[in-house]
């Protein structure tokens, strides 16, 4: 009997053994009293160009089979009590593996049936612009964002102050200047320049002048100027004096 097998055709040593058992038409339990063991060893011996990775498992099995064979020839070696003998182990392993092979065969039918169901590729479906549902938007969050932004801006400005000129809030208002003028003219006439601070800004001059015009319009103030380059003198209207005197 010439056996031309390639170990690559088998899913490992257990698969090969099961095939041999199947060919010999024997029960798994009779493996050691049949020629299967010899056949297995012969196949592994004859297999040429096995790569070591695959070969090791086949050779290891061959060794196990040889051990079992030698045990049957030699007088019985007493194994330790709770240790299973290699025959039992191998038979159990073969039976177990055979079951899974059987299941795999059934699953192959499932696979074939499922492969008759064809799916289709997704369509290229034109979509409208996405719709967003925004969550967690609160006015408080908005204010907080502003506060954070402001804090950061301030820090940035402090770090590079020379980059920016600081504009102060307007210190002067027409109303306060009007009050000032009325107060300072209580005891007689006052020169326009005398109402200004030591180094007045343009803004201050303009505002003072606006206040002056407003008081003139309301008739509460009189203005006298001797000549075009003389100082402007401001004095209260008599009526105004009267009223305040009362």
């Amino acid at each position: 009997m010439s056996l031309v097998f390639n170990v690559k055709d088998y899913q490992g040593p257990l698969d090969l053994l099961l095939q041999l058992i199947g060919n010999a038409k024997i029960d798994i339990k009779d493996i050691f009293v049949s020629e299967v063991t010899d056949q297995y060893i012969q196949i592994v011996q004859n297999a040429d160009s096995m790569d070591m990775e695959e070969a090791s498992e086949f050779i290891q099995m061959a060794a196990t089979l040889l051990l079992i064979k030698s045990r049957s020839i030699l007088p019985v070696i007493q194994t330790e009590e709770d240790e299973e003998d290699p025959e039992t182990t191998l038979i159990r392993q073969l039976e177990e593996y055979a079951k899974f092979q059987q299941l795999a065969l059934q699953m192959q039918d499932f696979e074939l049936a499922a492969s008759r169901l064809f799916s289709k590729l997704p369509d290229e479906f034109p979509l409208p612009p996405p719709v967003y549902e925004l969550e967690g938007l609160t006015l408080e969050g908005l204010i907080e964002a502003f506060a954070k932004l402001s804090a950061r801006l301030l820090e940035r400005d402090e770090l590079a102050p020379e980059k920016h000129k600081i504009i102060r809030k307007d210190q002067h208002s027409v109303t306060t200047f009007m009050k000032n003028i009325m107060q300072k003219t209580r005891k007689g006439s006052v020169g326009f320049a005398g109402l200004l601070s030591k180094s007045p800004s343009r803004n201050e001059v303009v505002t003072l002048f606006l206040a002056l015009l407003e008081l003139l319009k309301q008739g509460r103030l009189k203005v006298v100027q001797e000549s075009s380059d003389a100082e402007i003198l401001l004095m209260r209207n008599r009526r105004e004096v009267k009223i305040s005197a009362e």
Partner: protein, 194 residues
């Protein structure tokens, strides 16, 4: 119907094929005459009109294609493009705050304040419908002006922009923002609110 099975087979083929297929090719593969295939397609077409069918047949030239039913397109959209729940990032919120208080405002103005590029956050706010392009500023380059939308108001639960919290007098940001605004002088009163 005599063509029952043929209808089913054709539907099966058109489904897997996906694209439009030549009717003659179809007939040849099935070993039927073109006429028979046409008649089966007529049956199929009629059958597909029922409400419980979601497909329809498209025929043009000598081609035929199985497509989804136009009537149900909105439902398909709902699945393919579900509403996305999102919240705004801190950077988007900041950009939004600036737009809300200084609108209408250009990207350059927003960037001058934030000190970083804002294309992305402006785009994302636009996409989410919180701000909109309301025109162009009549300056060099005619940059786009952004303003907040009605949706912005509804998202933040306010009726009008007047309900936005007033900025505290000593708010450090106020000064900073107005300072930057000098770069692009504009009349605060000339703001047109939508």
């Amino acid at each position: 119907m005599l063509n029952d099975r043929l209808c089913g087979i054709i539907e099966s083929i058109l489904f897997v094929y996906g694209e439009a297929i030549d009717i003659e090719t179809l007939a040849n593969a099935l070993g039927h005459e073109v006429k028979t295939v046409h008649s089966a397609l007529n049956d199929l077409e009629q059958e597909l009109q029922a409400a419980h069918r979601g497909l329809s047949i498209k025929r043009f030239a000598n081609m035929v294609q199985l497509v989804s039913k136009a009537d149900y397109a909105t439902y398909v959209e709902r699945v393919l493009q579900p509403v996305q729940r999102q919240s705004l990032s801190q950077s988007a919120l900041e950009t939004l705050v600036i737009v809300a208080y200084l609108q209408p405002v250009t990207r350059q103005e927003v960037e001058a304040i934030r000190g970083v590029k804002c294309d992305y956050s402006l785009q994302s706010l636009s996409q989410k419908g919180l701000i909109a392009d309301v025109g162009r500023k009549e300056t060099l380059g005619r940059p786009i002006l952004y303003a907040t939308t009605a949706q912005f108001l509804s998202h933040f639960g306010i009726q009008s922009l007047d309900e936005l919290p007033e900025l505290p007098a000593d708010f450090p940001g106020e000064e900073g923002i107005q300072l930057k605004m000098e770069l692009q002088p504009q009349e605060k009163t000339a703001v047109s609110r939508r």
